[in-house]
Amino acid sequence: MPFGRILVAIDGSECSDHAFAKALELAKLADAHVTALAVEGPLPAYAATVGEVDEVKREKDMFFRSLAAEALRRGDEAGVAIDVDVRPGHAAEVISRVAEEGGYDLVVLGHRGHFVRDRLLGSTADRVAEHAPCPVMIVR
């Protein structure tokens, strides 16, 4: 089976939505297992108050819980075996590492993330394409 295990990166953006839909389509055709990986970006660097850190953390947790639940729902609806993994860190680094450690056959991700910081050091998609140990599908 060419693509038995598919890793798809999700972040709630429009591009990642398209990528997720493509991953589900592909998984259905290949009867593959999908892992939806959401990477929680870093907390505000050099914060001035504990409150700022706490509130951002709380909002992130709430957002990613909702994102994970939505991914599970869409996977179930599509009849695809799916699990969701939420990890902290820098997106490109985490996606490449999980792809390698999990022995995935394919990584699917959108071509653009939400924020300027996602593009500051080159796009996440470019960096994953460069560092992932398996084929990478970048979805527009």
Binding site: D11, G12, S13, V39, E40, G41, P42, L43, P44, A45, Y46, A47, A48, T49, V50, G51, E52, V53, D54, E55, V56, K57, E59, K60, M62, F63, F64, R65, S66, A68, A69, L72, D83, V84, D85, V86, R87, P88, G89, A91, V94, R97, V98, E101, G113, H114, F115, V116, R117, D118, L120
Partner: protein, 394 residues
């Protein structure tokens, strides 16, 4: 430029700072501080009277919140190990920076004391953010680090209140009101908040603000500073806020939306960029004067109490931001230091927030938990849907 035009410009700057903060993942306070420097120097603006007033109050609110955010039960468990690290983290740079300012830079003794205080701080928030990201806030090393930071902070606010006091008869009502509020507010809060709280008109926030204004007024009349009682007031209210998170969140909303931006903007606007540029050598001297004693003092104790993360602990104890800014602004407002000295201190404070944190995160960050993730896997396959609400992305 008219006063309302300045206000429009500054509120616009605050809005831009929030947007930039979200886009690039930097603390909004740091961006407000930096944009304050840019706006003031680009438009040749001074600090308007209303901004000076709001900024001063915001500084006291920040101090109160810093106290309210201390985990008191955790500190009670870890205080023995944390006390030595925290005290050395305060006194070593305070003494060295003070001596360098006095003897090497020719500042007078009050200016040297402001310099020593501003650069002896450790940033609770910077430390906390790194600990939460690494998951170390749940480990013994993280708990000790937070408690030690608290000790350094309270030493700073105590120094700020005590060192510059020139007692007048008003010191008596200042002390009496401080003690009455510190003893009375936590006891009266449940009744007051139960009867008047949970309303959109926010009587509970007004009660805290009224208490802080009273302390500021009496502190000013007593030729002192309200930092210490405000911090302790926050501290004694922390257990109340732990039980009533919504109240704390509302307080944060008011504070982040309207008060702290003006505080950091004021700090940035008071920086003289040209004078700073002309004194880069002095800036380097002050930075080294903060870092070397922090390392020399904290590292040996960290090896004993937070091994094997001694270097990581020492680097984080070398950070500073909020209390360094509060102290420097106090010195400037009280006429103790001039704008050049203030600019130097703020620049070192900002550098000390960034440089040791970046080094700690890139070279010495401990990996916690199993697997590849720093916070441990957070498999959410079985998670329930989150409550409705807008979250942040990424």
């Amino acid at each position: 430029m008219s006063e309302i035009a300045v206000a429009a410009l500054l509120v616009g700057t605050i809005l831009v700072a929030s947007m930039v903060s979200v886009e690039i993942g930097l603390s909004v306070a740091l961006i407000e501080l930096l944009l304050g420097v840019v706006v003031a120097n680009a438009f040749d603006l001074g600090v308007p009277t209303w901004l000076a007033f709001l900024g001063s109050f915001a500084g006291i609110v920040l101090t109160f919140q810093a106290g309210a955010e201390v985990d008191v039960p955790q500190f009670k468990r870890e205080w023995r190990a944390s006390l030595s690290i925290g005290l050395v983290s305060f006194f070593a740079p305070f003494a060295v920076v003070g001596l360098v300012c006095y003897y090497a830079l020719g500042w007078d003794h009050r200016q040297a004391e402001i310099g020593g205080l501003a650069l002896s701080t450790t940033s609770l928030a910077v430390v906390y953010a790194v600990l939460v990201e690494t998951g170390l806030n749940r480990e013994l090393v993280g708990k000790r680090l937070m408690s030690a930071t608290f000790v350094t902070d309270i030493a700073t606010v105590a120094g700020l209140t005590v060192l510059f006091v020139k007692p007048t008869p008003w010191a008596i009502p200042f002390v009496v009101a401080s003690v009455a509020l510190i003893v009375g507010l936590p006891r009266g809060a449940p009744w007051f908040f139960g009867r008047y709280g949970n309303r959109v008109i926010e009587p509970e926030i007004k009660l805290v603000f009224a208490s802080l204004f009273l302390l500021m007024w009496l502190g000013e009349r007593a030729n002192s500073q309200a930092a210490l009682p405000a911090f302790i007031l926050g501290l004694v209210m922390s257990s109340h806020y732990t039980r009533h998170r919504t109240e704390q969140e509302r307080m944060r909303v008011v504070s982040f939306a309207f008060l702290t931006p003006f505080f950091f903007l004021k700090g940035g606007m008071s920086v003289d960029a040209a004078a700073l540029w002309a004194s880069l050598g002095t800036l380097g001297v002050l930075f080294v004067a903060k870092m070397v004693p922090k390392f020399g003092g904290v590292y040996p104790l960290a090896r004993r109490y937070t091994a094997p993360h001694a270097t990581f602990t020492t680097l984080l104890m070398s950070t500073g931001l909020t209390f360094g800014t509060i102290t420097s602004l106090y010195g400037l407002n009280a006429g103790i230091i001039d704008r050049t000295q203030f600019s130097l201190l703020i620049a070192v404070v900002v550098l000390s927030a960034i440089v040791p944190t970046a080094i700690a995160q890139h070279f010495f960050e401990p990996r916690v938990g199993t697997g590849s993730t720093r916070r441990g896997d957070q498999s959410v396959a079985a998670m329930a849907p989150a409550p409705e609400g807008e979250g942040v992305r990424g």
